[in-house]
């Protein structure tokens, strides 16, 4: 059970004015109270505590021991209240506080890194904490309130965005799925690839834990064949290295090819393309926090700029 109502600090603070003024009337003057108004407030406080706080005589008013004890505590409490107010206002003005972000790796290296850099440059007072992992690991932390914003994704034809009535999703960008080929691959001269043309290639995919494996299977089946999988890895840098040395080809989201292995070329698919959709998930209501609201704006902005800025590293018609 919570205790009874806390004492009224404003009444306690009257004591300090009485101590300083030396008389009830002097204190009443500085407070813009009438003498009887001030006396009444005092009586209420004394009644609440069941003891005299001020010894009154016509010529002077002095605090009792109890009154003095109360006055000293009130001074501390006021300082602490001012500190609290300052701290909260700093958070409101994006000059303090913290924001905890969780991201998966390919977006952590690109979109989130850009957003964090931008945010830090503009609001250096806000402490950012960044955690990298897989959404299935950190989404529970988001629900539990240990993370404020979590990056998540949905692959075309494989998974749908996480559904949870406590979470809201802000769509950031559609990250196109591209084929990573050895730079000297016979098909590297094409600007866009027909997926059927890769029916005899060996494929490198993710482990079943990540969506790229299922995505690859679905996409190739739609193109009329079963992909010949030679290796599964969740590390897209290793996948690129394997591609570069002729180990096979792989699907990667474009954001995972920003830093591309020199021996690789990247080609989008013919037609409308296939995508990985990227979202920032947050608790419904979390956007009431100014730092989070601002971070969502920054992420959206950078997501918008990032997606179309699709040049094709590895060179076209190489």
């Amino acid at each position: 059970m919570a205790r009874g109502r806390p004492l009224d600090l404003r009444r306690i603070e009257l004591l300090e004015h009485i101590e300083r003024g030396g008389t009830i009337s002097a204190a009443a003057d500085t407070l813009n109270f009438t003498c009887s108004g001030l006396s009444q407030q005092l009586r209420l406080l004394e009644g609440e505590l069941g003891t005299a706080l001020v010894e009154r005589s016509p010529r002077e008013a002095t605090l009792t021991d109890a009154g003095r004890v109360l006055m000293h505590h009130a001074a501390y409490i006021r300082e602490r209240l001012e500190l609290a107010e300052r701290e909260v206002r700093e958070i409101a003005q994006l000059r303090g506080g913290q924001l905890r972000i969780a991201t998966f790796r390919s977006v952590g290296e690109t979109l989130v890194a850009d957003a964090v850099a931008y945010f830090c440059a503009h609001w250096p007072g806000v402490r950012l904490a960044l955690r990298a992992g897989e959404p299935e690991d950190y989404l529970p932390l988001l629900r539990a309130g240990e993370v404020d914003v979590a990056l998540t994704f949905a692959y075309d034809g494989v998974d749908s965005p996480v559904l949870d009535q406590r979470l809201a999703l802000a769509h950031l960008c559609d990250d196109e799925m591209v084929v990573v080929l050895p730079a000297g691959h016979r098909l590297a001269r094409y600007e866009r690839l027909p997926l059927e043309a890769l029916r005899h290639d060996r494929w490198i995919v993710s482990t079943p834990r990540c969506s790229v494996q299922a995505f690859t299977a679905r996409a190739c089946r739609a193109a009329g064949y079963e992909p010949r999988v030679v290796l599964a890895t969740d590390d897209y840098r290793i996948a690129q290295a394997l591609v570069a040395c002729g180990g096979g080809v792989t699907f990667l989201p474009r954001l995972a090819t920003r830093a591309l292995h020199a021996g690789c070329a990247v080609r989008p698919l013919e037609g409308d393309g296939l995508f990985r959709h990227i979202y920032a998930a947050h608790r419904v209501g979390g956007e009431r926090s100014p730092a989070l609201a601002r971070m969502l704006e920054v992420l959206r902005e950078i997501g918008r700029d990032d997606a179309p800025a699709a040049d094709y590293p590895g060179g076209i018609h190489a």
């Binding site: 004492l7 003891t51 109890a66 609290a84 107010e85 009431r288 926090s289």
Partner: protein, 313 residues
């Protein structure tokens, strides 16, 4: 200035994780809790809670404010408890400090009497030197400490304190029982020229008393041993390595192999005071203890004689 009662509402929301649990704890309606939080948010200009569909989670600002609220409300409760303690003895606390001789005599008896009269008040006592514990009165770590003032010696004054004289304690001379002057009823100081003395250490505010008194009698005291422990001094006197000034208060518990004789013609004195926080007598516990100490000291001053081992009546 932020409103403490609204901060308390926020604290309950933080502690209990929902508006309705906070409402139960506070005996409010959930909508009143929600409204109080909204008002606090408006006042400070930032959201404090994420208003989600099923649960309430605090924003960063809300967590910061709720943490401050915990500390502030705890402090307010301490203030209230302290005031109630001052207001009535019930559940009160009195922290005392004494020097050794008084601790074995007037303070021991005062504590016993006080405890009998007010068993609900928690008493604490530390023993030490006044110059160590009296400054703790100002910082509020002790409520009442005993102090002494020897003739001819300056006395340390403590800021923001008041005092009450308890008694005058006559200073006699402790001699080995076989000392040539042990049979004399009173001793004049000049009879003691050439004796080895046991004095106080420089840490004590009684330091220099032996030297001053002997110088006044026309000779230089040969202080061979320094100790602030009366029992050690008495043991040294008993073994015959020296003689010492000893307050009458200490005689009751003195070593059996020594005698204590008054000084003639003018007996030196020390005065014993109760020192407490300025305004401290308005505290019922402090004032009750001071009254007891005065009564007990008056009895002690009147009843004591110079026979070692004789407890005051």
């Amino acid at each position: 200035m932020l409103d403490i009662r609204r901060m308390r509402v926020l604290r309950e929301v933080a502690r209990r994780g929902s508006m309705s649990a906070a409402a139960d704890a506070l005996n409010y309606t959930p909508s009143a809790v929600s409204q109080q939080v909204a008002t606090l948010e408006r006042e400070i200009g930032v959201a404090l809670v994420e208003r989600g569909p099923r649960s309430i989670m605090l924003t960063d600002a809300g967590r910061a404010l709720a943490d401050h609220a915990e500390i502030i409300l705890a402090r307010l409760e301490i203030a209230e408890t302290e005031v109630r303690e001052i207001a009535g003895l019930r559940g009160g606390r009195l922290r005392l400090a004494t020097f050794r001789t008084a601790g074995e005599t007037i303070m021991a008896r005062a504590i016993t009497a006080f405890h009998t009269q007010h068993p609900e008040v928690e008493l604490r006592l530390v023993e030490g030197e006044p110059e160590d514990y009296l400054p703790l009165i100002k910082s509020g770590e002790i409520d009442l400490g005993l102090d002494f003032e020897y003739d001819h010696l300056p006395r340390l004054r403590v800021e923001s304190s008041e005092e009450q004289l308890l008694m005058e304690d006559e200073i006699g001379i402790a001699l080995p029982a076989r000392h040539r002057l042990a049979e004399q009823e009173a001793i004049e100081l000049d009879e003691l020229a050439g004796e080895a003395w046991i004095g106080s250490t420089p840490r004590s505010s009684a330091h220099g008393f032996t030297e001053r008194l002997c110088a006044g009698a026309g000779f230089e005291a040969q202080v061979k041993f320094e100790t602030d422990d009366y029992h050690v001094a008495e043991a040294l006197v008993a073994t015959g390595v020296g003689i010492a000034f000893l307050p009458r208060m200490a005689v009751a518990t003195a070593h059996p192999d020594i005698v204590v004789r008054p000084v003639a013609p003018t007996p030196p004195m020390r005065r014993i005071f109760a020192v407490f926080r300025a305004g401290g007598l308005r505290s019922p516990t402090t004032s009750a203890m001071v009254t007891l100490l005065q009564e007990i000291s008056a009895e002690a001053a009147g009843a004591a004689d110079w026979s070692a081992g004789a407890a005051p009546a």
